[in-house]
Amino acid sequence: MTAVTQPQLDVAVAHSVPRQRDGGGREPSLPPSVYGSPARRLATRIGGYAVLAFFAILFIYPFVIQLANAFKTEQDAAANPLSPIPSPLSTASIERIFVGTGFPTWLANSVLITVLVTLGRVFFDSLAGYALARLRFRGRRVLFGTVLGMMSVPGVVLLIPKFLVLKQLGLYNSYAGLIIPVFIDAAGIFIMKQSFESVSVDIEEAARIDGAGIFRTYWSVVLPTMRPALITLTILSFQATWNEFPHTLVAVQSPQYFTLPRGLADLVSGSLGAGTQYPLKLGAALLATIPVAVLFFVFQRYFVRGANEGGSKG
């Protein structure tokens, strides 16, 4: 994303700005003074920190509430929802999550599906991305155009269509129905194609001249150089699959196939939904958040990269 459009024009506008009252006697050649008087700088800095601190509390405190209330008794959570300290500290809800709900099943399903889908996406997205970036075959342009088009098909309008096709193929209410439809995604193909195009073609041609086949060139020569893109794709796939909710809603029905988001949603809006048991629900939501949270804190820069790539695809 190159944000620079006609800088000359903007500079011209900047130059037409009248000189400032408080900058009258200032030497233009002293860069530090450019940022204002020391008092003003301090005021700006304090103001900036105040804004940031306010928003940081706003963004972090819901997680504090979640964590604290998961370890409260139900009475304590109802009486002091805002307090960050449970009194008394109680692990009863956390224990009940494991023995009194379908949580262990949901967790196992989520792990299984996330691992399989992530593997599938990383391999098949990069395979297709490589072909679209490097191999010359008829229909390539049309195919890439189709992939671009598919990226903008919103998931929520596909709920009924996906349900129809899963029913028709006999995949409804099965692991296959949970996995196969999301096994390859258009956005991943797009990211990989862009990444393959950004590296030099020389090394591949050398390998091919040395007699390596197309697949071997891709697998042992090109792919090892794509580590950052592959990590980004792995993380994006993991996060997307772990958090996926609408697809599970139309793909399965029996609690034995529920993933964590589906189970959580059932816990809240289903039979147990009536107003109470919040420490239990918050605890389950907390446990479901932990894997992605850990991944986020370890690989934050890849998340950032993913967010910016998601934006520039438009």
């Binding site: 994303m1 800088p7 903007d10 506008v13 900047a14 700005v17 233009p28 940022y35 700088r41 700006t44 800095r45 900036g48 940031l52 928003f55 940081a56 706003l58 963004f59 819901p62 997680f63 509430i65 929802p81 805002l82 098949f124 997205d125 395979l127 297709a128 191999l135 010359r136 075959f137 008829r138 229909g139 195919l143 992939v147 903008s152 919103p154 929520v156 596909l158 709920l159 009924i160 349900f163 096709v165 029913k167 028709q168 196969i180 193909i189 697949f215 909710f245 964590l260 988001p261 959580l264 809006s269 919040y278 629900k281 918050l282 907390l286 992605v292 949270a293 998340f303 967010a307 438009g314």
Partner: protein
């Protein structure tokens, strides 16, 4: 899209001198993309066509929709949404109204918050940037369902938000039981209208089955809680986009304008913001496209209640199909939604492609984009 391309290209490629390293690329290419073509074709393109067919039937979910026993509905599923007086149209128009107010609040709020946070975080005098960036971005990578559970708790009647409001002496509403529209509440609070007997001029006239009074309700109090959640989760992602754009701005420009004595406000107004225009546009359009797809939060937090004031087209289409077993009507709603979103997406792509073009939008569109 069939695999005939491979057999067609092969003889041509063989004749070229580059056969050594470029040979067999036709078949290899198709082999490499074939898993993607099959999966995306079967689970994306095919379903869309099937649903389009179902939207013209009155299928109730029993058996296969592709047998002759399924009654055809013609265009009824579509005309019922717009032209025929009844519950179907009332629900659909209510969902459109709800989503319009949702868009109207979420898009400006998340954009302004994201931009402001990016500008503050980007200040060179501040330390601890990466901490704040992490804090603001984290909510957007968590599960929408898990975070909805947290906000459900926070917005309980005796919950955290009302406890904070109570601290300031404000009696908080019963968030998810409160179907009053925000505009009604404000107008009533100012004494301009009486909500028990609203003006006859507004209740007496209807547009698409919904009275003017109902169209002008504003988002319900319950919807405001969902809006708060969504703004809270999405602002971080958009802040990152602004931040990366800000960090790509040439620093000479900052220095030039500051040396010229521009005040902070003038610098922001005349230098920074014009340079951020493409990103601003991207964030606004991504917001517009995203806000029409709200589903998870509605499913977990309200199921369209209270009094259908958090019903959105996406959730209505799901509810119509899977709760009321009216798959034809549900599919029709999702196609209307599809149309809305695709129109916004195409508009975005079209304008982004010509973003260096400084002519006004209407002129670019009317002249077919020619420079």
């Amino acid at each position: 899209m069939t695999a005939t391309g491979a057999s067609l290209t092969r003889p041509v490629v063989r004749k070229t001198p580059r056969t050594g390293i470029y040979g067999r690329q036709g078949s290899a290419g198709w082999l490499f993309v074939s898993p993607a073509v099959v999966i995306l074709g079967v689970f994306l393109l095919l379903p869309i066509l099937m649903a389009l067919f179902v939207s013209f039937t009155a299928w109730n979910g029993q058996g296969s929709p592709f047998t002759s026993t399924v009654p055809m509905a013609g265009g009824d599923n579509y005309t019922n949404l717009f032209a025929k007086d009844g519950l179907t149209r009332l629900d659909f128009m209510t969902s459109i109204r709800n989503n319009l107010y949702y868009v109207l609040l979420v898009v400006p709020l998340q954009t302004v918050i994201a931009l402001s946070l990016a500008l503050v975080v980007n200040q060179r005098l501040l330390k601890g940037k990466s901490f704040f960036r992490t804090a603001f971005f984290f909510p957007s990578v968590t599960s929408s369902v898990a975070i909805s559970v947290v906000f459900l708790f926070i917005f309980l009647n005796g919950g955290a938000v009302n406890a904070v409001l109570g601290f300031f002496g404000i009696q908080g509403p019963q968030w998810f039981q409160d179907s009053r529209g925000l505009l009604h509440v404000i107008l009533g609070g100012l004494g301009l209208v009486n909500n028990d007997s609203p003006p006859a001029a507004l209740t007496g006239h209807t547009a698409f089955g919904l009275s003017y009074w109902d169209w002008l309700a504003g988002p319900s109090v319950a919807m405001c809680a969902i809006i708060a959640l969504v703004v809270w989760t999405t602002s971080g992602t958009f802040m990152l986009m602004f931040l990366s754009a800000l960090q790509n701005l040439p620093t000479e420009l900052d220095e030039a304008s500051l040396l010229d004595g521009a005040s902070r406000r003038q610098h922001l107004r005349y230098v920074t913001l014009p340079m951020l225009k493409p990103t601003l546009f991207l964030v606004l359009t991504l917001g517009l496209i995203g806000t029409w797809q709200v589903f998870d939060q509605v499913y977990v937090m309200s199921q369209g209640n209270p009094a259908k004031t958090t019903l959105t087209p996406a959730f209505l289409s799901y509810r119509t199909a899977f709760y009321d077993f009216n798959y034809g009507s549900g599919a029709a709603i999702s196609f209307i939604l599809f149309l809305i979103i695709i129109t916004l997406t195409l508009l975005q792509r079209y304008i982004m492609r010509d973003r260096d073009d400084r002519r006004p939008l209407w002129r670019r569109l009317s002249k077919g984009g020619a420079r």
